[in-house]
């Protein structure tokens, strides 16, 4: 079976550095699916994105990854992102608190201000994390 080497790098640590069968992630201009031997590519990852890894044995793993870049070269896919965590690492309580805070902030802001954009981004991230955490708790695919 064809293999793709996946590396996910964040400022704190390198989360993933191993062979996988395929990866799907959200780019700024749409969804990407990267399979082994993809052509060289460079793009940016969505502000609040999710990454889905298909393992060599067909299992699927979800990750949260935000504010980053993806590049493919020599059959190595590197995702460089500011935050990244596995679905089972997400603390649902904390995410909910973040969501609440972002919503409260949004309510009192002018739609055109930069604060509004920032709060909106925070809300998106919280929602993406929440979705993953819920999905993760119900599935058995997590290692």
């Amino acid at each position: 079976m064809a293999e793709l080497h996946l590396r996910i790098v964040t400022p704190d640590r390198t989360i993933v550095d191993r062979k996988v069968a395929g990866v799907r992630f959200a780019g700024i201009d749409g969804s990407y699916g990267i399979l082994p031997h993809h052509a060289p590519l460079m793009t940016a990852i969505a502000q609040a994105g999710t990454v889905q890894i298909t393992e060599l044995d067909g299992k699927e793993i979800d990750l949260f990854a935000s504010d980053g870049f993806a590049q493919v070269q020599n059959n190595v896919l590197t995702l460089v992102c500011e935050a990244g965590e596995f679905a089972h690492e997400i603390d649902l309580e904390r995410v909910k608190a973040a969501e609440q805070k972002a919503r409260e902030k949004l309510a009192g802001l002018d739609r055109l201000s930069t604060e509004f954009v920032k709060a909106e981004a925070a809300l998106r991230k919280a929602l993406a994390r929440e979705m993953l955490a819920r999905k993760g708790s119900g599935s058995t695919t997590l290692s």
């Binding site: 400022p11 780019g27 060289p40 460079m42 793009t43 940016a44 870049f69």
Partner: protein, 293 residues
């Protein structure tokens, strides 16, 4: 002798000073290790960002697309000063601030305005005491718990000031960690970006230039730049923190050694005085006994 008691007190206090400085030395070396580990795990991220920039910089057409590279006439210079929150770390802060003062004076003499951004309480206190205008003092998170989010916040503040015209140039003033016993105060250009070349012919041509770019080079590049600047700020923070802890460790080691030495000397004096006392008493007794018999 009356000063026996006094000596005993001094010996005691010097010993407890040695104990405290030894503890501080140990704490500093532990923190040093932690910061170094942090720097280690941060390294791959910097490498990747840097690598991507080098790959893409040749594809960005001209300077017009990349505002963070555009040079303007410099009227106001913004300086980010990274110092420690606490003292007792040798000449770490004073070395940096001494150089900073000279640099700021030069700028002012040249008719430019200087604005300061501060991270670390010592620098802030120093600047305000000398009547400099501090634009913003970053209090949270404290240096000890400084993480990438902090670097991001600071980087954004500087970029914002640069893009809205508050400053025409940004500098980083921090301490670079050279070795365990050497720290170099460093003045580094931050904005406009000069460390990277853009445009045709820029970037290393040994990279495979034939790749897909989605949506286009300028869009990716302009998203990449802030990230890059954040890594630069974070690197400066980590360098400063490493220097601070190493410097404190050294200072505290010196203090411990000095205290131990002093204690030894004091003990010698004390013992001599005590012995003198005993001899005197003995002489008194012998003299008294011989007078009676």
């Amino acid at each position: 002798m009356a000063n026996l008691k006094e000596l005993r007190g001094r010996i005691k206090s010097v010993a407890s000073i040695a104990q405290i400085t030894r503890a501080m030395e140990m704490v500093a070396s532990m923190k040093l290790r932690k910061v170094q580990a942090k720097a280690q795990s941060f390294h791959p991220y910097t490498e990747e960002i840097r690598y991507m920039i080098e790959r893409i910089s040749g594809k960005v057409a001209s300077e017009g697309d990349v505002p963070l590279f555009t040079r303007r006439e410099v009227q106001t210079v913004g300086i980010l000063v990274i110092t420690s929150d606490r003292g007792l770390c040798g000449s770490y802060n004073s070395n940096l601030l001494f150089g900073l003062k000279r640099y700021a004076d030069e700028l002012i003499a040249a008719g430019k305005k200087v604005k300061f951004w501060c991270y670390g309480r010592k620098g802030y206190a120093w600047l305000t005491r000398r009547g400099f205008e501090v634009e913003r003092f970053f209090v949270e998170p404290p240096l000890d718990r400084a993480d990438f989010t902090a670097a991001k916040m600071i980087g954004q503040a500087l970029v914002e000031a640069f893009t809205d015209g508050t400053i025409d140039e940004a500098k980083l003033y921090y301490t670079r960690f050279v070795s365990m016993i050497k720290f170099a105060p460093t003045n580094e250009g931050f904005l406009p970006i000069s460390t990277i070349e853009v445009g045709k012919g820029a970037g290393d041509s040994s990279y495979d230039l034939d790749f897909l770019l989605e949506p286009d080079a300028a869009a990716v590049f302009n998203r990449l730049m802030p990230r890059y600047l954040e890594t630069v700020v974070f690197d400066a923070m980590l360098q400063s923190l490493t220097s601070e802890h190493a410097s404190r460790r050294m200072a505290m080691k010196g203090a411990t050694d000095a205290a131990v030495r002093m204690n030894k000397g004091l003990k010698k004096i004390y013992n001599r005085a005590r012995q003198e006392n005993i001899t005197k008493e003995l002489l008194d007794i012998v003299g008294g006994a011989s007078a009676v018999s």
